[in-house]
Symmetry: C2
Subunit: 308 residues, 2 copies
DNA sequence: ATGAAAGCGCTAACAG
DNA sequence: CTGTTAGCGCTTTCAT
């Protein structure tokens, strides 16, 4: 009998109404994903990681990009609340807005944070040790013999910037040196601004022998800037990036960079969020899991020119 | 009074239950977006275009990537039907699967197709003239004086491949030549396979003086292959891509390519789909809108070496 | 075993 | 203009 019903259902291409199921189950089976204007490869990695965990089809992924969170965190909160989600995945910089977390907690909307940098004890946290990663790239350049190293920071509202910088600082300290503040410039993670600030770095005299960029897009821009000045990479200038994005492999020379396991972290975040959603008990129990970075030494870094 | 209720609602941070609203409105306010493993920049452009239209927050975007549609179109159909969508945006190659369109029509799930290449009279169609675009790049190379032109096709299941190829063919015919079939190789739109087939092209004797790749990732791979053989671009070899993806601008030399207005097309598709959803009348009335391509001549193409 | 009924949270239609 | 009620499509409980 049960079988006959199933058969008839299949026959008629019947599909139960999800809204009715949601109404009674008191959940929507929708997971939100918020991010802010980062590189396409980052977004796609994030998204694919989360989707990888959701592939059984029980939950669906709703994408909710939102710009300038820092200046209006409560607005994002309202957006998320109105989206009828069961839970939300927060990428930087949204995951670092305490006001946003306040709103979500007050309204009991569970969340998981991917690579947050502040208030690490709140909610589900999946992260990478940015300080250790920054330390690793900087140490790589220092051990090649570089001392005049230009630094291109990312957007200061992304706290990742700070952690990586702290790692650079420690590496310099260990090498018995100090960072020259005049060789620090601020970008915003985009190619265009990266190019502009790289030009100002390369105009310094004496010129830096290496550039540490806080993401790959800006590193590639630095290579272009060097090339436009007739400098060879890595002969005259070494350049290191961050992220292991696709562009780091398609660039020439291929970029030395740090792999941030974005995909795995997103999978993990989705996994923990769903576990919290399904096991109703300790829903929002804060938990933390660190993923390892990986230094990828490729063709864009070499010892400084002999004269230096 | 009405005001007092609103105030109380705001006070309590009350948000109406969307599932209940959906149940009564008989729609979910969810729009699906299906695509298949293309380059990150393409996905993000597509997504941002659609999201741009959805930003009033009435509708939400659910991402539903699905691989190997060609071999199991009905399965995608079931996935979409079970996702409780009001409508769906179909990118290639899903938008070219008649079986999928059959399923969607049978179940009355409205859809909009972005750059389809077959059955152009079905459903809402937003497209670009691939033949004209292919014709434009090929004509560019031919008018620079190239005659031995290698061609790297994309994945043959994406019908875009065919249209662009047809455009190349017409351009050659107009120039009074014909394409040398031995200089046609097949990639799959990825960098890695692009690199491999570019190497086989460059091993031909006499070597082609130009390469026409069907997307930018493969074009960048061709540049890398040339460089690894000690060839300069565009001195020894001209390379043209397709898509105007981010990599085409960050590559060196910057790629001559064709801008496919993906973002605008996605916006348009979302717009028409929503119009159909809201104005209940002629819901699925087939309509078609063509967007213009744009040839972007940059640094990777030049006349062939004098000896040729 | 099968069938009937209540109710999830909301909106729309109606009565007061 | 305010208040009441029926019902959207489903699941779960309870009675048969």
């Amino acid at each position: 009998m049960r079988k006959r019903v199933k058969e008839a259902a299949a026959q008629l291409d019947y599909h139960p109404n999800l809204a009715a199921q949601s109404l009674i189950a008191r959940r929507s089976f929708l997971i939100g994903l918020t991010y802010e204007r980062p590189s396409p490869s980052y977004v796609v990695e994030l998204q694919n990681g989360a989707l990888g965990r959701l592939e059984d089809g029980r939950y669906r992924l709703v994408v909710l990009p939102f710009n300038h969170v820092a200046s209006r965190p409560e607005e994002l909160g309202r957006l998320l609340l109105r989206a009828g989600l069961d839970g939300v995945l927060l990428a930087p910089p949204a995951c670092d807005q305490p006001e946003l977390l306040d709103v979500l907690e007050r309204q009991k909307l569970p969340y998981a944070r991917v690579t947050p940098h502040r208030e690490l004890a709140r909610g589900i946290v999946v992260t990478m040790d940015e300080v250790a990663a920054g330390h690793a790239v900087a140490t790589h350049l220092l051990s090649l013999g570089h001392r005049r190293i230009g630094i291109i920071l990312g957007d200061p509202s992304h706290a990742a910037s700070l952690g990586r910088m702290e790692g650079y600082r420690r590496a310099f300290a260990e090498a018995g040196g100090a960072i020259d503040d005049r060789l620090i410039v601020t970008g915003d993670f985009t190619y265009d601004v990266g190019y502009r600030v790289a030009r100002t770095l390369l105009a310094h005299s004496p010129r830096p022998t290496a550039i540490l960029a806080q993401n790959d897009d800006m590193a590639v821009a630095a290579i272009a800037a060097a090339r436009d000045l007739g400098l060879s990479v890595p002969g005259d200038l070494s350049v290191a990036g961050f992220d292991n994005s696709e562009v780091s492999r398609t660039a020439w020379p291929q970029l030395t960079t740090v792999n941030q396991p974005v995909r795995e972290m997103a999978w993990d975040a989705a996994n923990r969020l769903i576990a919290a959603l399904d096991g109703e008990s300790n829903s929002a129990a804060p938990s933390r899991h660190d993923h390892a970075h990986e230094l990828l030494v490729r063709a864009s870094t070499a010892p400084p020119p002999p004269m230096d």
